[in-house]
Symmetry: C2
Amino acid sequence: MKLTPSQIEQFDRDGYLFFPSLFSPAEVKPLIDAVPGLYAQRRPENVRERTGDVVRTNFAAHLYSVPFAKLARHPRMVKPIEQIFGEKLYMHQFKINGKAAFDGDVWQWHQDYGTWKNDDFMPEPRAMNVAIFLDEVNEFNGPLMFIPGSHKLGVLDAEHDTTTTSYPLWTINHETIAKLVARGGIVAPKGPPGSMILFHGCLVHASTSNLSPWNRVAVYLSLCAVSNHIRRYKRPGYIAHRDFTPIECLPDDCLTKDYDVPLPWKDGTPADELRGLEKAA
Amino acid sequence: MKLTPSQIEQFDRDGYLFFPSLFSPAEVKPLIDAVPGLYAQRRPENVRERTGDVVRTNFAAHLYSVPFAKLARHPRMVKPIEQIFGEKLYMHQFKINGKAAFDGDVWQWHQDYGTWKNDDFMPEPRAMNVAIFLDEVNEFNGPLMFIPGSHKLGVLDAEHDTTTTSYPLWTINHETIAKLVARGGIVAPKGPPGSMILFHGCLVHASTSNLSPWNRVAVYLSLCAVSNHIRRYKRPGYIAHRDFTPIECLPDDCLTKDYDVPLPWKDGTPADELRGLEKAA
């Protein structure tokens, strides 16, 4: 899979690219089947919602789950991003966001690179966000909303919101959002399970709560250019990874065939990865 | 304005009717212009959101605001409902819901008639809900969501939810919602300011939070068949009205021309209307 010049131009202008049904139902099935088992685990990688005992986000499943370890090495995801950055990548962050039916709470307007820069000392926004839908995304189950073109402004001022949801977030103020939307509008890509979105680390995004009876599980990855690796380990290693080994892709059929993948955290998370460290990279 | 037989059949089947752009921009303007002044007032009729100082809902504006007093008597709204119920109507409830940009919170899944029956002792679901959009409603500013056909099941079991938002509500459990949606799906009518929805008192509905920079102010009225008036005054009179005088319509041009309307609460709300009363009707 290679991006066309017009796709690269579109990414540069809008800050995202949408690939409906990039993965087939047969490829998505082992992923979605693995989610309940991951969410049921009592490990620090599961962050729960304010209400109920429902998982809001799970971290680092690619280090302890075979299907997700294979997804993390999939060429249909990795190759286009290597093409855009012109170098090899490592996995900076790996999340499975629940946005559960009825209980899935909002994610306020934010940019991801603001956090990577301020908390992790990532030098440049040379890391790509990837969203892969494991459930259908429709207008009722809290789709991801983007402000097209908002990545062009670089890092915007943000405030640390620790009260609105169960997950602290650097959020952007209302006045700035109103200006950005007046210029670029709002879009919310929707599609079947297996669809993929690539979006710029500076693209402003949010999602509403999910009041529908339909789960909206999606995998959110951040793949960083190796030379652009983070310089500080303030956040736990299961949130902002410290292993900068370049990703080597598996074959294109890896989600439906057996391949050997390492599962270093299968028996638990190393103590050092559970906390911030003073040590710089 | 008279409903056609196919509209009446559609209302019976789906539980709602949508009339995009029923009122012109010139007719909507005096209404939308009056909202900030109403929301700014420190009177008990303004219920504010959990967050900020933003109004979630304003009650009974037709008793102290000229434009809304005229809207409450508009033939394009009143006549179709008289046609469906076959008798004259009185105003049971009159709300202007803010659903403010950024701060507008969710309304959980509920039926209105459950409250009217349990709290107000309204004998039958012979009261019609009306939503009139004062702002454009789009997919991003928290549109009203309906489960078509859900009114056919009558009054469903509900629990009194006093914690999720700033407004206590009799809400329907997740299992029931999932079943209803599997049968009827979800719809969310969207359209320009001046659009109107009529919906059955038993139709299950909800709306998500509004993270967009666009306000979504809408007027929500409940018009009750006079013979079906409430029998108990447990809720304050500004929430559930105790005046069962039949509505007399103004001419069709009433929103853009001057007409005399009574404003009985112009100088404040009568003390008896601020509280529940033991007295039955």
